[in-house]
């Protein structure tokens, strides 16, 4: 828009830099150049241009904030994109599903250990049995003695 105005002004001052065949026609004189520069200095954007620029900038900033990369927005974008594909969406979907299955198969092949690896791993038995505390055997006191150090007979008793 600004360039259009400059061309209009330059036409008004009678300056022609090039023709349509890109051939220089006339070299501008110093006065012409001075007039052109003076004209350039007086060049100003239209009234309210900067105000519209700021408004447009803020509007775009808000739109960018709204369109963040959230899962929901991603999903919406993807569905929109698929919706826009028309009938080709079925071909794209089939291709994507095939690629997913192939990727999972590849991951399973790489992650799961092979039989050779399983055989190679030494088996270490886990000691899961809890050893019960040793229970002192029942003693038959041959004599009446309630002292803690008294020892009686264990095992089979004959009466």
């Amino acid at each position: 828009m600004v360039g259009t105005k400059i061309l209009k002004k330059s036409c008004q001052v009678g300056i022609n830099f090039v023709n349509l065949n890109h051939q220089p026609v006339v070299k501008p004189s110093v006065e012409q150049l001075g007039s052109l520069l003076a004209l350039k200095r007086e060049e100003r954007p239209e009234e309210g241009y900067w105000q519209d620029f700021l408004c447009e900038f803020h509007q775009r900033q808000r739109e960018a904030a709204v369109k963040r990369w959230t899962p929901a927005s991603l999903w919406n974008r993807a569905t929109d994109w698929f919706g826009d594909l028309g009938r080709a969406k079925w071909a794209y979907g089939a291709g994507l599903a095939y690629a997913s299955v192939a990727a999972m198969g590849l991951v399973a092949f790489l992650v799961y250990p092979r039989a050779a690896d399983v055989r190679g791993t030494p088996m270490v038995p886990v000691k899961h049995e809890v050893a019960p505390a040793p229970v002192p055997p029942v003693e038959q006191l041959d004599e009446l003695d309630l002292g803690p150090s008294t020892q009686g007979s264990v095992g089979e008793q004959v009466f």
Binding site: P136, E139, L141, E143, L146, G147, G152, S153, V158, F159
Partner: protein, 295 residues
């Protein structure tokens, strides 16, 4: 009467004095039972012990409790605080009972035949001390006693070893053996005294009866594991794996019950045994013999 108002209170006071005096005398009389005190010297690596001695019913001697660690050799005796001479008739290491005789003995004390079966029976120690039979102790921890003791709770401090405990009829039913926890003590039942006394008075030692059947102490059921060759039990028809249900009048539920019942076997006195063989309940009459040497 109206002119002598103080007469009735004085009479009442006089009557109360007589009652109190009579009660005190009776208490002193009962305390006289425990006035015999025996001091046994320490055995090797042991320690001396003191015991109250209780006169027997027939006046033939006294019975005291000889705690482990002491020996029945030249005991020192006092009667009412005065030294007297005593002589050891015999002592049984199984029951810890020691029988003595003394020329100074003149008292006779009534003894019961057996301990009242009802638990919670009120007992009396010499003096105002009251007690109550709480139950039987057959086993302490993993140690099975040779015979069951009576657990007695006292309404005060536990009296000294050998103190007689009487029933409601005044007959001695137990002797204090050792304190347990708090105000409770283990007491030797009169049944054990009656079992040991004839043997010790005659032979100076206890003669145990023997049937020749074996039980395992750790077994939860009193099951016969083995029978000795030529034993009375084998001859009576008892077999291995039979389970004892009753020995004499004593029901048997576990090994400790059986050990307690076998303590009271007397050689030569037939005893009825009730056993379980499979699903059958069988009765046998077995005649115990003196324990053979080495068994």
């Amino acid at each position: 009467m109206a002119g002598h108002p103080p007469t009735r209170p004085i009479r009442r006071l006089l009557r109360l004095f007589l009652v109190v005096t009579g009660l005190g005398a009776s208490c002193l009389a009962s305390a006289q039972v425990a006035s015999w005190e025996i001091e046994f010297p320490a055995a090797a690596n042991g320690h001396a012990c003191k015991s109250i001695a209780v006169p027997l019913e027939d006046g033939s001697g006294l019975v005291a409790v000889l705690l482990p660690g002491a020996q029945a050799v030249q005991p020192v005796a006092h009667r009412g605080g005065d030294p007297v001479t005593v002589e050891v008739i015999g002592q049984d290491p199984v029951s810890r009972l020691c029988f003595l005789k003394s020329p100074a003995l003149s008292e006779r004390i009534a003894w019961a035949k057996t301990v009242p079966s009802a638990l919670g029976t009120a007992l009396h120690a010499p003096g105002p001390l009251r007690a109550r039979a709480n139950g039987w102790v057959k086993q302490i921890g993993t140690k099975v006693l040779p015979f069951a003791l009576l657990r007695v709770g006292f309404e005060g401090p536990v009296p000294p070893t050998g103190t007689p405990l009487s029933g409601e009829d005044g007959r001695v039913v137990a002797l204090v053996f050792q304190p347990a926890t708090g105000n409770t003590a283990y007491a030797i039942p009169v049944d054990a005294v009656n079992r040991v006394r004839p043997d010790l008075m005659r032979q100076g030692k206890l003669v145990r009866g023997w049937l020749g059947l074996s039980l395992r102490a750790e077994s939860p059921t009193p099951q016969v594991t083995r029978l000795s060759a030529d034993s009375p039990a084998l001859q009576a028809g008892i077999r291995a794996n039979d389970v004892l249900l009753q020995v004499g009048t004593r029901p048997v539920a576990d090994y400790a019950d059986a050990a307690d019942a076998f303590f009271y076997l007397v050689p030569g006195e037939a005893v009825r045994l009730k056993l379980l063989r499979g699903a059958d309940q069988l009765d046998f009459t077995v005649n115990p013999v003196v324990t053979p040497a080495g068994k």
